[in-house]
Subunit: 228 residues, 4 copies
């Protein structure tokens, strides 16, 4: 697709793993995609910009800049996650706050920065990455599950408010391990049983292509054979 | 795609509306699709076969025949529905039984007829059409919701048993009115606010194409702006 | 409480275990409770009557008789269950039908026989016993989960239709093993980790006593320490 | 019940309405109940203490004091809520943060202050008040629903971690309007269709009395006839 006709896309939380693949996959499929991340990984400075998404002012300013340069985005993904696995007793109050800022407040800041422009320019797709913990507060997941559940509720509210204005808001429950370098190190799992980031990216692209007659608000993804 | 390489597909519940569109859409997209229905609509006798899906013996025999002619299917959809909207007091015991036979027993018969062959030949996709009532027993929907909820539970059990054997089992919640002649008559609704059967068919095709790394078990579909 | 002021109660599915305890516990707590069961256990013929609850005519006649003798019930419990644990391939079509008749059709027949009289005489409580499978179609539970999910949807529809008419309809999810002779034999489990039938009965009595300001539609019960 | 045998109870969020009734009702039913609230209402200074529950240090110190005076509590209720009804665009980032602090962080602080002592002294009951928004992110409820959903997930994690240690953790979904002065002013609703605080208090007392054989983790409450 010619560059001048490509639609702007934004991926919040693009430092490694899934987020970075979303950026490159979107760029390969008709979008001009920019990743936003607290830090910029080596070799990614053209497509990933540094911003603290938990900071309302900095995020607003960065999104305003992007809007000026590229126009309102047609596809936006919230993909930040800060996983802490720990029993409640050893999860500090600061952990709870840091996780909430990283995962929920960042989504609020992102939505505030992109949705008005998207409404004005005729719509688009806003996707939030969820997890098993979006539906279940498991043992040793209190802070992470509280944030993922909050994010799911926020996404539902956004869908109900912005759907009638032409914004397709979707929540994708990633119920399995995403195949990244970090997760290979952490889980020591057979990569054949992990979800490939490029396959997830395809689902996000499909969501962005759904016609207005049939929008999906929520779907789950897991590898074949994953217990659930 | 050349006929000899096309994969067999079966749509149970194909008399009108969505089911019939699924058959033609699958035929247009690389499948040899056959519909099964209690009665065969005019002009459809080449692609839709008559069978009472609630009858275990007749269904088993028909599926055995199809298996002999075309080989095990790669894509199977359960799409029968018998909608009764009535308060509990005026829903007869016979209504409850007829709806259960039409919607749940037919799925059991279908699954029993296709899954073993699909497992043997290396997998495939089995999709069940759900509805708003799959998740909610509403007022005046006792019999329909009981059947749709049963179907959802059955589909979950099948996913957990057959997923590890290579069968992708999915449940699609159609949370809105499908645009068919019958529903236009029944609801007197703006067609722009209905779901197009061909758009739903595309979602089913996408599910059948999902790689083993990322299978969706459940997703919802509704038209833009539909309240939920 | 003197017999003449006691309220009639009916427990459908009272052959053994929980059902029989519900009858005796209700009788000890201000009700004249009658159990209904396909067969009458030894020594229980005064409080348990034989009736095939899956048979609409026989159930209707028996409930009409009871209504004539005792008046409309104030507390009704549906507690029939037919547990089959088997993979889908080895669960026959007849199993699916028998389980549906025993668990779902029996509830329809029961509700049809008691609700009109309860509405006419000013209300009462209708409780359905659920299980883990009410919310989840697990591996090897296809037929049982389909029936329990159907029952939950039916109960929701009844709550929405009969609540405004003064009938408190509730669904209790028994998420654990009930301590009965049969389950001790089947599970070989430490009885201290099972739910006591008399403790469950107390919850049902509490539900029947809830004031109209605060009705519970659904609650779960599990023993301390049970994983969920 | 004589004062010396009464068990300590704590109600976090006790300024008005339900919280204040919980304190008095617990005091009338065998507990020595203390309310905690940011401000102390007139005439309540004996049973309600001022503390900013969103402040980790102040809350920890206050709970340590209470523990020293009364011993570890046997019944603890989290009941703080900060309701904002507003579309997303007009809900500020500060609103999101204030609501999260008031509703979620306060629960973390409370749990951290009471659970270790409760485990040490042999158990007790920890109840969290939920709402319709605990299950659903509705239009104009983004911040409130995000907090209530987070609280539900947190409560589930606590139940799974502390249940085996003898703490009964429960989540009560208040699906209706509580009859308080504030809600009468706000909703102009027939009080007969509201939930009475004293009836809710009775449910909380019943939860605290459940034997270890049958613990409820979640239940809903709504007035007769309330649509759901």
């Amino acid at each position: 697709m010619a560059a001048q006709s490509a639609s702007p896309a934004i991926v919040a939380g693009a430092g490694a793993g899934l987020g970075r693949t979303l950026v490159s996959s979107f760029n390969d499929n008709g979008y001009i995609a920019i990743g936003l991340n607290r830090t910029v990984p080596n070799g990614a400075k053209e497509t990933i910009l540094a911003v603290d998404l938990a900071n309302a002012h900095l995020t607003a300013r960065k999104l305003l800049d992007l809007n000026g340069t590229h126009g309102a985005p047609k596809l936006v993904v919230h993909n930040t996650a800060k996983l802490v696995i720990s029993d409640f007793e050893n999860t500090s109050v600061d952990d709870f706050e840091a996780i909430w800022r990283s995962m929920v407040l960042s989504a609020v800041n992102l939505a505030k920065g992109v949705l008005p422009g998207m409404v004005e320019t005729g719509g688009g797709t806003f996707i939030v990455s969820g997890a098993t913990a979006s539906l279940r507060g498991g043992k040793n997941f209190a802070a992470f599950a509280a944030a993922k559940a909050a994010l799911r509720a926020l996404t539902q509210s956004l869908a109900r408010e912005y759907g009638p204005k032409g914004i397709h808001v979707a929540h994708v429950i990633l119920d399995g391990i995403v195949d990244t370098e970090a997760s290979r190190d952490l889980h020591g799992m057979d990569p054949a049983r992990m979800m490939k980031p490029e396959d997830i990216a395809q689902v996000y692209l499909d969501l962005a292509n759904q016609p207005k007659s049939t929008w999906t608000h929520e779907l789950d993804l897991r590898p074949m054979g994953e217990a659930f």
